[in-house]
């Protein structure tokens, strides 16, 4: 049953229709969790005893940072699958994820610097996590640039898959080297607030927001995948029939 499902999902046509049915579910549950998460995060959760109200940007910043790493791993895993088993749909997932991942990384960086200004007094500090996130953004941009530079999209998808795999091997190395570099070269000039074990009233909205962002990613990646499928399969009969029906 499950195996059959996976086999069917490998067919672009089937994937297209299933994805089309799933998108509304992802979208509505995303909107619901977003509203709930934002309401609890912005209104119900108590103010931080040190940072006051400005800590609330965390409810965007932290889930975005989580997503930036999560999506890269998703890309690398689906890249591996598409290289080993040559499944077309995982190729589509790799490239559909890249832009979303880059956006989340940028969002994490932007909200981080907005948060840093009142807390640290600077828009940007060469903190280990910020630097690692910046390098992650560069990795995403490299993937997007490579994909758009190669004209044959199937070749492009495989090239991007290799790049994602090389990147995922390097991310831990980059992460730890940046951390080492930071601790050696930057004495504790930034007093980062001691992270107290978070109260449930603060943690719950954060988790809801994290789920919400994942649902958003699911919806967007399916939308982008559908667009990609139509573009790739534009010469097949089912796409042409579908377009003809749309025109009527």
């Amino acid at each position: 049953m499950i195996i059959r499902f996976f086999h069917q999902m490998g067919s672009p046509r089937y994937f297209y229709s299933v994805a089309g049915k799933m998108i509304p579910w992802f979208m509505t549950s995303f909107l619901i969790t977003l509203l709930v998460g934002l309401y609890y995060g912005l209104f119900v959760a108590p103010a931080d005893y040190q940072q006051g109200e400005s800590y609330r940007i965390m409810y965007i910043h932290v889930p975005a940072a989580w997503m930036s790493m999560f999506i890269y791993v998703v890309m690398a895993v689906s890249g591996l699958i598409s290289l080993v088993w040559r499944i077309k749909m995982t190729e589509v997932v790799v490239i559909s994820s890249a832009t979303v991942g880059a956006s989340f990384t940028f969002l994490a960086l932007a909200t981080g610097s907005l948060w840093g200004k009142p807390m640290w007094g600077a828009w940007w500090v060469w903190d280990a996590r910020l630097t690692a996130e910046l390098l992650l953004l560069f990795l995403y941009l490299g993937i997007i640039a490579l994909h758009s530079a190669i004209e044959d999209k199937r070749v492009a998808a495989r090239a991007v898959s290799i790049l994602a795999l090389v990147g995922v091997v390097n991310i831990p190395i980059i992460h730890y080297s940046v951390e080492w570099w930071n601790t050696l070269h930057q004495p504790a000039s930034i007093t980062k607030f001691d992270k107290p074990s978070m109260d449930m009233s603060m943690l719950m909205p954060l988790l809801i927001m994290a789920i919400s962002f994942k649902l958003y990613y699911g919806a967007v990646v399916l939308m982008r995948a559908r667009a990609e499928i139509v573009e790739r399969e534009r010469n097949t009969r089912w796409v042409q029939e579908m377009v003809e029906q749309e025109v009527k």
């Binding site: 490299g142 640039a145 190669i150 090239a159 090389v166 390097n170 980059i174 080297s177 080492w180 570099w181």
Partner: protein, 227 residues
């Protein structure tokens, strides 16, 4: 062809690439010249402050080495791609990753080693104390092969592209960060007079790791680029 052993294929390819490089001697000097020029620009930009120049010296030398390596990467597979010999390598009976390793080694001997040779001169220019120069040389001899190895993956992915240059730098520079960090840190530590075994060990580990993994990724990327 079928009687050719892997070692002789490796050494033949290495010899061929070195001979080809030697025939174009003028190009051999280019990475070295670039390395010296970029390094010489920094004091002009920063100002004539001996203390400051000494402080940024290791970083400047290594960033210049990074850029010089990046600039020379494109030539790694370019001519072989243009004249079709790359496709012949793909068709050969030997594992492509080993053949690729020969090409990377030749490329490093031609472009990476010269940087190592002029580095002491630049170290003197940037007021790096003589006691730290052996460490600088060590980081270069351990680090520049890693640059060539990691870079080869990027080149293999972009070799078929008409304007691969900028994309290559976006792909490769983030991956160079760990080398940059540990190499400059080793030199800075050596200037202060603290042992640098830890940084050098990590650099060696990176060299060994990339020596094993990069040729395989490069071979796979070349297959994709040529498909």
């Amino acid at each position: 062809m079928s009687t050719l052993s892997l070692t002789s294929a490796f050494s033949l390819l290495l010899k061929r690439d070195l001979v080809l490089a030697y025939r174009r001697r003028a190009e051999l000097v280019n990475p070295m010249l670039f390395f010296v020029l970029v390094t010489a620009m920094f004091p002009l930009g920063i100002g004539n402050d001996a203390k400051l120049i000494e402080a940024v010296g290791p970083g400047v030398i290594w960033v210049a080495a990074l850029l010089a390596a990046l600039l020379s990467l494109d030539s790694m597979f370019r001519s072989d791609y243009d004249d079709g010999s790359l496709e012949q390598f793909m068709l050969s009976a030997h594992p492509v990753s080993i053949l690729v390793l020969a090409k990377i080694l030749a490329h490093w001997l031609v472009t990476g080693l010269p940087l190592f040779i002029v580095a002491p001169l630049l170290a003197v220019l940037l007021n790096i104390p003589a006691s730290a120069i052996p460490t600088l040389m060590l980081t270069l001899i351990l680090g520049t092969p890693v640059l060539s190895l990691i870079g080869s993956v990027g080149v293999a992915l972009t070799v078929g592209l008409r304007r691969g240059g900028v994309i290559l730098s976006i792909l490769v520079l983030p991956l160079y960060v760990p080398v940059l960090i540990f190499a400059t840190d080793a030199v800075k530590t050596a200037i202060v007079g603290i042992p640098t075994t830890a940084q050098l060990s990590i650099l060696s580990a990176m060299l060994v790791g990339s020596l094993v993994l990069a040729p395989m990724a490069t071979a796979a990327s070349l297959r994709i680029s040529l498909s």
